[in-house]
């Protein structure tokens, strides 16, 4: 085949792969070569479609959280660092010891109210890093990350009230901390109810603050804020799903008055619940991986990501918990007007793509003027 044909073939493949044009459109451009081109272009299109597998949205979200945390963590570390190798390690060890000593001092006290951009803000974030380092156990870590995410949204609110610039990193760190808290809560079984309730509250508050913020934000900032809102919504959906499942498991099936204590039999916990869309929640949400690293009950990776079916989101207008509420009880909570999801009905919808659903929720919630 001539060089000219190979060039035409390459141009057509670019049009199909990179611009999404059809084979027919390409053939129209080169009618003299149609006979030779068509079979190869059809093969190219077939190959492209066969290889178009997208990463799982839960994995993508979790991976991005970890990446952003690594990026922003390294940002803080690298700023002003001029030490090498063993000097840096030694300096970090000394800094850690000093940080503990300083913790008792006034500097720390003064830094707790520092906002991004203030002189003492790096002291504040350094103290937080030391705190995370010395916090052990999933439950304590989850509570710590919830607290840190709450601090970030408070900082954002204060910056907004004082009409100061809000750095993108604060939004990213807030979202990353929330995701980490969720991942830990998803693993933690004993106090899971309490943790997810806190995360639901947290994400509701995040969205409320960010929605107010986006109204007056410049165009370039709107994108970052919108992303942060989307992440809050996604985490809310996931936390709320666990919360509802726990509530269903705790709800008694029969009235205790109907059965005498001697006759009462333990009610088996539901092993899998159907959402109203008909999707069955993964039974293996808390299943530990088998020794070969594969999770028998689900195809999920042995990671911190939740095992919700891909593309499923809960659009229920569930009532907000009381802000002081810890573990959900059997007592039904009062309905409230404000909720993170703008959908008016309680149906769970199965969504084809997280991106599409998030855009839909975001736009509809903008129109309701939260």
């Amino acid at each position: 085949m001539s060089k000219e044909f190979k060039d035409i073939l390459d141009t057509c493949i670019d049009r199909i792969i990179l611009k999404g044009e059809s084979v027919e459109q390409c053939l129209e451009s080169y009618p003299d070569w149609a006979n030779e081109l068509e079979p190869l272009l059809r093969e190219a299109l077939y190959t492209r479609e066969a290889f178009s597998k997208e990463p799982r949205s839960e994995f993508q979200r979790a991976a991005k959280s970890r990446f952003m945390l690594e990026l922003t963590g390294r940002e803080d570390k690298k700023r002003g660092s001029i030490l090498w190798g063993w000097q840096r390690q030694w300096a970090m060890a000394v800094a850690a010891v000093l940080a503990v000593i300083v913790m008792c001092g006034g500097t720390v006290g003064a830094s707790t109210s520092a906002l991004p951009g203030d002189l003492l803000y790096p002291v504040k974030t350094s103290m937080e890093k030391v705190q995370t380092f010395f916090t052990f156990g999933d439950e304590d870590k989850a509570n710590l990350y919830i607290k840190l995410a709450e601090r970030r949204i408070d900082e954002i609110q204060k910056l907004s009230e004082n009409q100061r610039n809000i750095p993108d990193t604060v939004l990213n760190v807030m979202s990353a901390n929330t995701d980490i808290a969720y991942d830990l809560a998803n693993q933690n079984v004993s106090s899971q109810g309490e943790l997810v309730a806190k995360i639901v509250n947290l994400t509701v508050n995040q969205k409320r603050v960010l929605m107010r913020l986006i109204e007056n934000a410049p165009v370039e900032a709107k994108i970052m804020i919108r992303n942060a809102i989307e992440r809050s919504e996604n985490t809310y959906d996931r936390a709320q799903t666990i919360r509802e499942r726990l509530q269903r498991q705790e709800k008694p099936q029969i009235s205790p008055q109907d059965v005498s204590p001697s006759q009462a039999t333990p009610i088996p916990a539901e092993t899998g619940t159907l959402t109203s869309s008909g999707h069955k929640e993964n039974e293996a949400e808390n299943t530990t991986p088998t020794p070969d690293g594969q999770n028998n009950a689900s195809a999920d990776t042995p990671s911190l990501s939740p095992s919700l079916p891909q593309g499923t989101a809960t659009n229920s207008s569930s009532p907000l918990p009381d802000s002081n509420d810890g573990v959900s009880s059997c007592t039904p909570e009062p309905q409230k007007d404000v909720h993170i999801d703008a959908s008016a009905d309680n149906q769970v919808s199965s969504l084809g793509s997280d991106n599409k659903s998030s855009d839909g929720i975001f736009l509809s919630s903008l129109s309701t003027g939260h």
């Binding site: 190959t47 990463p55 390294r74």
Partner: protein, 180 residues
């Protein structure tokens, strides 16, 4: 070209905004490329994450030499896959481009791969390594000829030749498989 240079400089400075954009643009592409090469979702996810963390680790020593950022990322991805294939793990469970049957593919992988993709990967086993590289980077990675040429260290003309011969070979092989 200038735009690519600016992006590279911002990545080197660990600009969060630049990194976020690059991450969001190339993450699915890197994943698709690796998924085709390792034929295992779990490993593909792990390797994809490693690519970006490695890039972040290495960005300070990154020197822009006129190649797009995509070439740098895909080169890291390609090296990761090569390292992975060298491990015993990859040899035991997920042989690539050999006679892929249900005996050699794990039940999980088989469930995920439909018959078309299996046929395609089987057909790709008949290609030369260079032809496979071009097909994987072009069609799984969604890269342009220029980007592929930079990654493989070949001229654009050479990539076009390999692309043509690879497609022709695939068509011939797949026609046989589909008829059978």
């Amino acid at each position: 070209m200038q735009k690519e240079k600016t992006v590279a400089q911002r990545l080197k400075k660990r600009d969060p905004e630049a990194w976020t954009k690059v991450y969001e643009e190339y993450f699915p592409k890197i994943y698709r490329y690796i998924a085709v090469r390792v034929s295992d979702r779990v490993e593909a996810e792990d390797l994809t994450e490693q690519v970006f963390l490695s890039a972040l680790e290495a960005c300070q020593s990154f020197k822009w030499r006129g190649a797009p950022v995509s070439s740098w990322l895909f080169r890291i991805a390609r090296n990761r896959v090569i390292d992975y294939k060298r491990t015993d793990k990859s040899k035991k469970t997920f042989p690539l481009y050999e006679n892929i049957t249900s005996d050699t593919v794990s039940p999980e992988t088989e469930a995920e791969m439909n018959s078309d993709v299996r046929q395609l990967i089987q057909a790709m086993g008949q290609l030369t390594p260079a032809q496979r590289d071009v097909i994987e980077l072009r069609f799984a990675g969604g890269l342009s000829n220029a980007e592929v040429a930079k990654i493989l260290g070949k001229s654009q003309g050479a990539v076009k030749v390999m692309q043509h011969s690879a497609l022709a070979a695939l068509r011939k092989k797949l026609s046989g498989l589909r008829q059978s």
